[in-house]
Symmetry: C2
Subunit: 207 residues, 2 copies
């Protein structure tokens, strides 16, 4: 008797396509995306008057838009464009806040390929103007979150470009990054970590 694999429980062949699992936004779901977690936290901080930080929309190159009578305009052909900035920015305690959110399934290091040159350039430009800039990173399997100061990231990026290693060890991130706790409301309590970054950066500036 041959073995049947109902409901797709059988082994997948290499060529078989697997549909991307779409995770609904669910505060109780530990597997929710870092982006959804940050957005939920930003909404909390906005409604409680603590900070105004938003995700920027993805830039789109419009090619064809229909304007039907008595209904909303419909985009019929458009392409995604590469953003020229990071994903998040806003204002907190008078400071300009700017960061990108990145997650990895790795458990011992964070791959630098998650970042792009234009993001590094943007963070460097904002840092030069006195902004509070960082990468908000998540080790999904460890359920650990860190704010990594942009100054450290830029330096590491430059070392990589001149032949250095292509990832940042978790031990290094624990040393240079600031841990962020996750909870319920806000999902990610990251403003205390930002306070630490501000104190660090002001300390450096005053030297």
């Amino acid at each position: 008797m041959s073995i049947h694999y109902p409901n797709g429980q059988g082994p997948l062949s290499a060529s078989q396509s697997v549909k991307k699992k779409i995770n609904p936004v669910n505060f109780a779901d530990r597997g929710m995306s870092l982006e959804a977690e940050i957005n939920a936290s930003n909404t909390y901080y906005l409604t409680t008057g603590q900070a105004v930080i938003h995700k920027k929309p993805t830039p789109i190159q419009l090619v064809k838009v229909d304007y039907p009578k008595r209904s909303a305009a419909v985009v019929r052909e458009a392409y995604f464009r590469r953003p020229s900035t990071t994903d998040y920015n806003g204002v907190y305690r008078g400071y300009y806040i700017d960061f990108d959110a990145k997650e990895t399934k790795n458990v011992t290091s964070f791959p630098l390929k998650n970042f792009h040159q234009h993001q590094i350039d943007h963070l460097a430009a904002c840092l030069k103007q006195g902004g509070i800039c960082f990468a908000f990173i998540k080790f999904t399997k460890l359920n650990e979150y860190y704010l990594l100061p942009a100054s450290f990231l830029i330096q590491t990026w430059q070392i990589q470009a001149s032949g250095g290693r292509h990832s940042i060890p978790l031990t290094t991130i624990k040393k240079w990054g600031i841990p962020v706790q996750n909870g319920l409301n806000p999902r990610l309590q990251y403003l205390p970590a930002v306070d630490q970054l501000i104190a660090q950066q002001k300390g450096v500036t005053n030297e």
Copy 2:
């Protein structure tokens, strides 16, 4: 002999559709849109290292996206969403900068209907966090530009809501706004006006 109108030179009937004229970005064109002028100025300020200010992309609700093999993803159905913020933000001299750009063909006053509640709310929230917030307005027929402090705009908006007038007289704008000069490079030299706003706001905070 009947008269022919070759090349569409004949008179247009009311029902005939007229294609929207698309103005190319041209620095010499005094009629270029305020948005194009601000974007050109921001590019100048970015490349000269003076400020990092970007226009946010228009938010789009994606419904259908095709992923053809070996070519870029194509958006096939999407709708424009109402933004929850203003159009421009960034960092300058350590300050968070936030503004919306609005133009009018009026010559004696600026209609408040150019603004929306969510923009006023956003400016108020950013102001509360110590941001430098304003409306960048242009009287297109007069070729005059002003930065109008958000605090003034919010106050005027509230007076309107309780039965006040629906526009701001140019004389009032001349009194409360800061004029911006236009030229070639940058097209709109607005950072000196922002400096004045910063000085004003710090003065108010220190009182």
